[in-house]
Amino acid sequence: MTATLVEGLADQHTIVCLGPGGVGKTTTAAAVGAALSRNGSRVCVLTIDPARRLAGALGLDQVGNDPVSVPGFGDSFKVAMLDARITFDEMVRRYAVSEQQIQEITRNPVYWNLVTRLSGTQEYMAFERLWELRESGMFDTIVVDTPPAQAAIDFLHAPMRLAGFLDNRIFKFLLKPPPFYLRPLATATRSLIRQMAQVVGAQVIDDTIQFFQAFSGIEDGFRERAEATSTLLASSMTSYLLVTSARPDALAGSMRIAGLLAEIGHEVAAVAVNRLTPDFGDLPRSGVAGPASQLMEELAAEREQELAAVARHLAAGSLPGFFPLDDLGIEVASIGTLALMSDAIRSSVFVKLAG
C-alpha cells in the first residue's frame, strides 16, 4: 500500500468510486480527478449521478455527454455527465441495420421504459460511455462516479443483466418456431403470456413482443460489448475506490458494498473516509475549563468516536486501513473549494489499522 491516495491511484486506467449516499462521493470523485490531473495525467471524471450534482459542484451548468474542461484546472482535467438516453440511442444506431429498425426500437414504449426506468440501464450506459471514452485515447485515467446506496453495486451486474434481458429466451419462443424438443415449453410459455395479457393488458404484451422483434439481430452486438465491459471492470487496470463518511449507517453501507464487490471477485483498492471532524491539536494544558476548551474537548471526542467507528467497521470488513479526509468546514460548491479538496486528497496519508 502506497503512502498517499494519489500515488496509489496514479497508474490506474479506470477508477470506479463506490459508496453509500450522502458521503460526498461525487465531489470526492471530482477532487480525485483534479488531484491526478495536477500530477500530470490527462483525466476525465464521468458522473452518472442523475441529480446533476457535479455540474453544481464545478460551477458548470452545461455539462453533458461530452467531456468539458473545468476553468482553472487546465486542459488535462475534464468532466462529463452521462446522458443515458443519448448513449442508448447511439448504441442502437451503431448496431441497427436500417433506419426502419432504429425507428421501430426507439418508438416502442418498452424502449422508453428500459432507458428511463430499468434499474441498471444507467449504469450499463455509463460503462458503454466509459468504453467510448477509453477508445478515444484522450485520457490516461477515467474516474467514474456511481449512483449511491444499493444501486451502487447494481452497476457491476448491469451489463450482463441488460444483455440477458435482451437475449430473453422466453420472448424468443414467440418470435420464431423453437426446435422440436422445446415445443412443449414454448406452448406453455405462450399460454402463460396470454394469461398475463389479461392482467396487464394485451397492449403491453404486444409492445414487449414487438420490441423483441425489432431488437432481433442487434442483441449480439450489445452482448459482446457487455462482455467486453465486464472484462474491463475485472482487469487489473481498474481500481475500486470506496468513499464513505464516518457515520455508522454510511460505514455499514460501505462494508456491504465491499462485501458484494468481493463476492464478484473485485477488491477495494482504497477506502477514503470523508468529512472527518478535523484534528485541532492537543487540548491546552493550562487546565482552564472555559467554554472554548470545552468546545475543543467536544470536537476531539467526536473525532475519536468517528475514528473508532471507522476502525471497527473496516476491521469487520477485513480492510487494512483508510485515507482520512478531514471536513473542510466549507461545502464543495465552487471551483475554489474543489481545489482545496484536491489538495486534501494529495496530502492524505494512509492510516493502517492496528492488528
Binding site: 434481458f165 410459455t189 393488458g201 403491453v204 466549507i330
Partner: protein, 289 residues
C-alpha cells in the same frame, strides 16, 4: 412523552393523513425519520404501521412497532394469485415470465407495491401508514409508475389499478409526503427539486420538510478571549461555520416550505436506526423542536 406533546409534534410534522410517504436524498436519515413518525404516532395513542421496501434498514426482531416489509416479487405473485391465476402465479415467477415482463415494464413492479399500499389503506386496520420510501430518484419513478403505466396499459386490471393508485396519491386528505433533508447544500437542493416535482406534476400533498441532524449551537461565551491563530480559535470558527451554514440552509428551506419545516437535532452517532429514532423522540419530548 406526554400524549398531548406527541399529538402536537405529529400534527406539526404530518397532520392527519392515512398514508405518509417519507422520502429524500440517500443518506439523510429517511429510515430514522420514518421510524420516529411511527413512534410518535404510537405515543399519541394511534395504531401505526411502518412499511419498508428494504429490510436492511430498520427491521428489528421482537419489535413493539408493527413493521411490514414489502418485496416486489411476493407482492406480484400475491396480486396474480388473487386475479384468477392461483397456483400458476408461482410458476410464472419461477419460469421467468414475470421477471421478463416486469423488466420490460419496470413500472409494473412499482405499481403493484403501491396497489398493495392502497389495499392496506382501504383495509383501515391502522390509523396511519408510514412508508419508508426509496431515495428521491427511485421514489419519483415509483410515484410516477401509475401515470406511466396508465399510458401504456390502457385496458385490463393494471389500467384500473393505475387509476385507483393515482387517486390515492393525489388525495390530499388521505395521502401526503414528508421530505427529509440535511442542512447541507446538495440534500437541500434535492429537497427543493422533490418539492417541485411532488407538489407540481404529481399533485402529491407535501406535508412537511424535516431537516435532520441540525448541528448543536456553540457553548455560551465560547468566543471570549480567543487568541488569534490558536487551536481554540480554529475549533471555534470550525464549529461556528458549520452552525451558520446550517442556519443559512434552514432559512432557504423555510422560504420554499413556509411553516411546514421541522428541525431535528443531531443526536450523535448510533449504529441502530431504531435507537436513533428513540433518541430523537426523547429529545423532542423534552421540547427541543
Amino acid at each position: 412523552m406526554l400524549i398531548s406533546r406527541a399529538r402536537i409534534l405529529l400534527g406539526q410534522m404530518i397532520g392527519d393523513p392515512k398514508l405518509v410517504i417519507v422520502t429524500g436524498k440517500g443518506g439523510v436519515g429517511k429510515s430514522s425519520v420514518s421510524r420516529l413518525l411511527a413512534r410518535l404516532a404510537q405515543l399519541a395513542g394511534l395504531h401505526p404501521l411502518l412499511v419498508l421496501f428494504d429490510d436492511l434498514a430498520t427491521y428489528r426482531e421482537g419489535d413493539d412497532l408493527e413493521v411490514l416489509v414489502l418485496k416486489p416479487e411476493p407482492v406480484m405473485v400475491e396480486y396474480l394469485e388473487s386475479h384468477g391465476f392461483g397456483a400458476l402465479a408461482g410458476h410464472m415467477a419461477k419460469s421467468g415470465v414475470l421477471g421478463a415482463v416486469s423488466t420490460a415494464i419496470p413500472g409494473i413492479r412499482d405499481l403493484l407495491l403501491l396497489a398493495k399500499l392502497n389495499q392496506l389503506v382501504n383495509a383501515a386496520k391502522h390509523d396511519v401508514i408510514i412508508l419508508d420510501a426509496p431515495a428521491s430518484g427511485h421514489a419519483l419513478s415509483l410515484l410516477t409508475s401509475p401515470e406511466g403505466l396508465g399510458g401504456i396499459a390502457t385496458e385490463g386490471p393494471v389500467a384500473t389499478q393505475s387509476i385507483e393508485v393515482l387517486e390515492l396519491l393525489r388525495d390530499h386528505e388521505k395521502t401526503g409526503a414528508v421530505i427529509v433533508t440535511l442542512p447541507e447544500e446538495t440534500p437541500i437542493q434535492e429537497a427543493e427539486e422533490l418539492m417541485a416535482r411532488l407538489g407540481g406534476p404529481l399533485g402529491v400533498n407535501v406535508l412537511s420538510c424535516v431537516v435532520n441532524q441540525m448541528p448543536p449551537g456553540l457553548p455560551a461565551g465560547a468566543e471570549l478571549g480567543l487568541a488569534d491563530g490558536s487551536a481554540e480559535a480554529a475549533a471555534f470558527h470550525y464549529r461556528l461555520g458549520r452552525f451558520q451554514a446550517a442556519a443559512a440552509h434552514v432559512s432557504r428551506v423555510e422560504s420554499a416550505f413556509g411553516s411546514r419545516v421541522a428541525l431535528l437535532p443531531w443526536v450523535g452517532f448510533r449504529d441502530d436506526v431504531a435507537e436513533t429514532a428513540d433518541h430523537l423522540a426523547s429529545a423532542l419530548g423534552e421540547g427541543l423542536l
